[in-house]
Amino acid sequence: MTRSTSDRPPIVAPRESTDTDESADDTASDPLTSHVIGSESGSEAVAFAGDATNVAAVRRLISETAYASESVLLYQTRVRDCYTLQLNYVARDDDGSPDVQFCHVIRDAEVDCERDAWGHVAAAVRLPFPDDEYSGLSIGTGGSCGRIPSRYNESEPA
């Protein structure tokens, strides 16, 4: 999990894109919301804002992933300053599509924050299957961390 302390989100590249035009101006598109890294070359395109926290850990997760059998989901969103995201569970639907659910948790009591202030967080989740095993993906952010829905007999650890 990485977080920025400014208005800028912690992951600044790759950017959201509606097409595959590599020549598009990256800085003109929106910050990514979700992005799957399926190869080592893809991992090299990830760039962080200068004030992003916990960058070394995220870089390590990305670089130490075995992309032949694994992939990495990057998910970035706005969040209230006193909260952060926590991975609730990763499961696979019947068609093999990953279902990744996050929940909001209150940050440490020592963190100086105001109730109505906002920031950005980004999560890097290592999925235990390569990106060519799925064509779709669902991501959710619930209010609180709960149990895995009963439709999933067992969860796949991230």
């Binding site: 006193c82 948790v105 209150i106 940050r107 440490d108 009591a109 020592e110 963190v111």
Partner: protein, 429 residues
Amino acid sequence: MSRETRRSVLAGVGTALTGTLSGCNGLTPLSGETTVEYDESAIAALPGAIPRVPPATPVQPTDAHLTSARDRIRLLLDGTDLSQIPNAVVRDELARERESARSALSSEDPGESRSEALEGLTHPRSEAMFVDAGLAAFRDELTAEDVSTRRERDHADAESFLTDYSHVGPPDDPMAAFVEHARITDWGYTGVRLTDPESRREYENAVLHVAELAQNAEWGRAYAADARRLYKRYASTLDDPREYGAHFASVAATLTDDIASHATRPDWEALTSDIKRELSNTPGEKLLRELSKNRWASAQNAVERRDAGRKVGAVIPALGALTADRAVTDAKNAVSDGAYGVPESVDPIAAERAAAVDGLRALLGTSPEPIARRLAGSVHTPIRNADRIADENPSGADGSDLYAQYAVANRLAAAAPPVVRRAGELLRT
């Protein structure tokens, strides 16, 4: 947590209710429509006085006991400086619990018995502990493991109190002993349950998680400690006490056997198969659903308690199930005869409320009164709830719902007296 208040006034039970119900059907035609506009001022005029239900237990907690419960809250909140916590959400969560605990110190209800007041202070004590433990965790002076150790000790204490329990009472008054032990053991078992390690987890935040663990432990500890202290006081009032444990277990077994068949989810189709009229969206449907649900929940509770070896704990829910069972039968007959359609005006709703209040008054006059008072809560509560809705939001209140709630109270009040008398016979012999 339910609070029960109790009161007794003598009246002729069967006559009063039969007259009221037949009058209700005869005087007020029922609408075939499912949506009726009601006179808002008539809805607002529905609430009125409800007979107070006096305490069932002959021996109440002492004033000193109540004072010590309030002192516990004050002690836990003393000097709590939340400004030292930088995270505003954590700070606000603690402040909210502190405010709730403080409000309990300033809101004394003169109509409450000491027993009710003490029970009303159990959760505020846990809220105060939430604050105290949260601050201690923030200062690194308390961990989840510390709380777990404390909780295990409290759990063992609560269990040992019940393991060594003796159902002592006056040699000539098993009824008084029963109602006293029903209250004390209810608190005792609640203490055991709340100090059980299988507690909910709401917070991932470390400080707030320690706070919630400590809160649950304190909630259970308060119940168990109150049970132990009230038991001690009760035992101290007895001369030449007699042990009634085996007798109460026999009564519980008899009553629970009578209602065990209702401990499974009611089959709505079977329940209404012989009613030859349309019930959908009528007060009659709501009434039957509510009463059958009440019968099921009470019977299930009684069976579970009996199976857990609770000698007195199964009796009151078994009596509740017996009452609801009679009420279901009577309500079905009334509905089959055309009662409880959607009322065309507020008049039948007001009449049903009046019947419920009369029924409550009659129930409270039924002997043995301590048992009647224990059952009266299920009559008092729906009247109070419907009154509250009519009082707070007369324009938004659903007349059919109000009618059904008063009908639930009316039917339970009418059904209870024979059940009270039967319980009296069983407990006295």
